[in-house]
């Protein structure tokens, strides 16, 4: 490996960050109730026991059948003598305070900050993953920090955040940790938001929707072929999840990462918009975000701005009311407009809120109702 000034600085920063974060958030890296023989072991919630000490995971649509001492596709759940364990409960690999706009959630407590964290692991493998350094890794391959659900809730309060965000990798794979943390946060008046690929089975998602406040789903494409080739997943279960979330009381927003040549045709933008309109209505915000070369898709250029603007135009022409352009700081598509009077209601630059003209879910110019959680 070549050592140059850039690498040196990168490594230096990454080395410095974790201990600094521990100090910043007053998080003790100590072992406690979840540790068994120096490992963090909590029995998984959703699985069936099979013959010969095999188990079948029922958390996500992959439904891996797993032999003794083997792990599922996610790499963070292991069969030990016929009992299925999550290996990442209370094992955060990274945590940070982010503006909720970074998730992005634009109709959920705008301007508030979210205590955000993740464990390693993911139940798909997107070739364009921007966090592959933690999503495509196993827990024993990283430095993890013990932080209990209660401690996360406490740290969220201490850092003046109103929101706990489960993000960065794929929260579905640390479901039990997320679930316990939501409960701990709810007890002290915090909201929880999940940033997810939506690749989860119905039963665990229903249970989650009973306690969580908002979910952002990354809808990666509107074709099964894209999901198969570039995600190693399936589209249909994700669409089912979106429908289920919309029917619950959980606030929902959707992100569509526009990747040049792979999912950026006018036909796809139209199909996507029609599906949203027909299934979950025109009030659900959708964000068309800009792709940058990552992981296994280094051969494609960043998304042209005009493509993102085109996607926005098409969606709006199909009747969707809250269509945003993301990852393009300064683009007018970052703002929230009143669909009735067309005035700017929330003016954004990147993750910073410049002005907010929504009062009690209504446009302060024409009193039109604006859906979301604004208070």
């Amino acid at each position: 490996m070549n050592t140059n000034r850039r690498n040196f600085i990168k490594k230096g920063l990454s080395f410095c960050t974790a201990p600094f974060l521990l100090d910043m958030f007053d998080i003790a890296n100590e072992q406690n109730k979840y540790f068994v023989n120096n490992e963090s072991l909590v029995e998984a919630k959703y699985y069936n026991k099979l013959d010969n000490k095999k188990i079948q995971c029922k958390l996500c649509p992959r439904e891996c059948t797993i032999d003794n001492f083997e792990r599922g596709y996610c790499g963070v759940r292991e069969n030990r003598e016929g009992v299925y364990y999550t290996l990442v409960h209370s094992q955060a690999v990274t945590f940070h305070v982010d503006p909720v706009e970074k998730k992005p959630l634009f109709h959920f407590l705008p301007g508030e900050e979210a205590f955000s964290f993740a464990t390693v692991g993911c139940n798909v493998e997107c070739k364009f993953c921007q966090n592959w350094q933690i999503s495509q890794i196993r827990p024993e391959q990283t430095k993890n920090y013990y932080i209990s659900p209660e401690k996360i809730a406490e740290s969220t309060k201490k850092n003046n955040c109103k929101i706990i965000a489960y993000t960065y990798s794929e929260p579905v794979i640390f479901y039990e940790y997320m679930y316990d943390t939501i409960l701990a946060g709810n007890k002290i008046g915090l909201k929880s938001v999940m940033i997810s690929n939506g690749f989860i089975n119905t039963e665990p998602l229903k249970k989650l929707c009973e306690i969580i406040s908002a979910i952002k789903i990354d809808l990666k494409a509107i074709t099964e072929s894209f999901y198969k080739k570039y995600v190693n997943g399936e589209l249909k279960p994700v669409l089912n999840s979106i429908n289920l979330i919309k029917k619950s009381n959980v606030w929902l927003e959707i992100v569509y990462l526009v990747i040049p040549t792979l999912n950026d045709s006018e036909k796809e933008f139209k199909e996507l918009s029609k599906w949203i309109k027909q299934n979950i209505g025109t009030d659900v915000p959708i964000h068309f975000t800009r792709f940058y070369p990552q992981y296994k898709l280094m051969n494609l250029p960043p998304t042209p701005i005009k493509t993102l603007n085109l996607a926005k135009e098409i969606s709006e022409s199909e009747g969707l009311k809250y269509v945003y352009v993301g990852n393009v700081p300064g683009n007018p598509g970052e703002n929230t407009y009143c669909p009735k009077c067309k005035n700017v209601l929330i003016e954004r630059t990147g993750y910073v809120i410049r002005a907010n003209k929504i009062k009690n879910n209504h446009c302060s110019f024409c009193n039109n109702y604006i859906p979301g959680v604004f208070n």
């Binding site: 990454s14 974790a18 910043m24 001492f69 196993r138 391959q141 992981y295």
Partner: protein, 336 residues
């Protein structure tokens, strides 16, 4: 965003930067399909068996095992082991021996076999004991199979978890993985010693599949019955170029229920199978497992949806890792 102080802003900025550079990076140089160079017109596979390998307690008799291994080597290399293998191994070579210890004591690579090969390298090629590592995915796996972890002087024995994985991602085809540093930093050549067993997802765990133990994300590559992932992982240049010989521990054969050890599906097979061609051995192992399944009235791997097509993918022109057809393989059976 409520950032009131310069100090707070810088703290947040730096912690974000740290998150973005957690230390891994992509190795760009190898993002294209590259064909392996398999220049032979025919492969040779030696199956060396001894029906008196075990004592009355069903334990392997070490002396007979050693004779069996020597016989297998001599048959494969036409009594010129030292000359032929000597072109790839000398006293300064660092050799690692990849075993398969996932299934505990019942169905892991025989410890006696791994250490006899290590001793053979020392005695016949003049290697230092310190230059040899016996390894698998996790030290815990090795210990459960009866191996003693040694990270000090002498023949070393430990898992990938002891030394970790590369920062770089290595690519071939659909596979993209960090590699065990045992492969990249501690080995000049690798001798692969898999076992012979059925695999509940990818059909067969033999020579090709054993190299899943060299990557950080094997859980990602069992989908589609491992095809083309098993062939792709083996084709990663650092793996393909370093594995010089396969000595399959076929002292047992498990034809159903793998990869864990399930005694009712496991039989003594009392053989060592040796070749430089991993595809040819796996092709032979597949035939053995299918035949055992037939004899025991089990459905074929094809019928149960886990036929290891990856073996044939490994033989295609994109991978070119060896041969998977009878007319290209010279099977030599030797009985003691």
């Amino acid at each position: 965003m409520k950032i009131n102080e310069r100090r707070s802003f810088l703290q947040k900025l730096f912690s974000f930067a740290g998150l973005a550079f957690l230390g891994c990076k992509i190795k760009n140089e190898n993002n294209e399909r590259k064909s392996a160079i398999y220049t032979r017109s025919q492969s040779k596979v030696v199956i060396c068996s001894d029906n008196k390998l075990r004592d009355s307690n069903n334990e392997i008799i070490e002396e007979r095992l050693n004779i069996l291994i020597d016989k297998a080597f001599n048959s494969y290399f036409n009594n010129q082991t030292k000359e032929i293998l000597g072109a790839k191994i000398n006293k300064n070579t660092r050799v690692s021996i990849k075993v398969n210890c996932l299934a505990g004591k019942g169905l892991s690579t025989e410890k006696k076999l791994a250490y006899f090969i290590a001793e053979k390298l020392i005695n016949e090629f003049g290697l230092e004991k310190n230059s040899i590592i016996i390894w698998d995915r996790l030290s815990d796996d090795l210990e459960r199979a009866g191996y003693e972890i040694n990270t000090g002087k002498g023949i070393k024995c430990f898992g990938n978890d002891y030394v970790g994985y590369t920062d770089d991602v290595y690519f071939f085809g659909e596979a993209g993985s960090l590699l065990s540093k045992i492969v990249t930093e501690y080995s000049d050549v690798i001798i692969n010693i898999p076992v012979l067993k059925d695999h509940g997802i990818v059909g067969l765990s033999g020579c090709l599949k054993n190299m899943f133990g060299a990557i950080h994300n094997p859980n990602k590559y069992h989908i589609n019955v491992g095809d083309p992932y098993v062939a792709d992982v083996y084709s990663i240049s650092e793996i393909k170029s370093k594995v010089i010989l396969h000595v399959c521990d076929a002292t047992k054969l498990q034809y159903e229920g793998g990869p864990p050890f399930i005694p009712k599906y496991c039989e003594n097979f009392n053989s060592i199978i040796i070749s430089e061609d991993p595809v040819a051995i796996d092709y032979y192992l597949l035939k053995l497992i299918e035949e055992k399944r037939r004899v025991n009235s089990l459905k074929s791997l094809k019928e149960v949806g886990r036929y290891p097509y990856y073996i044939f993918t490994a033989a295609d022109s994109d991978h070119n890792l060896g041969f998977a057809s009878d007319d290209k393989i010279n099977f030599v059976k030797v009985d003691l």
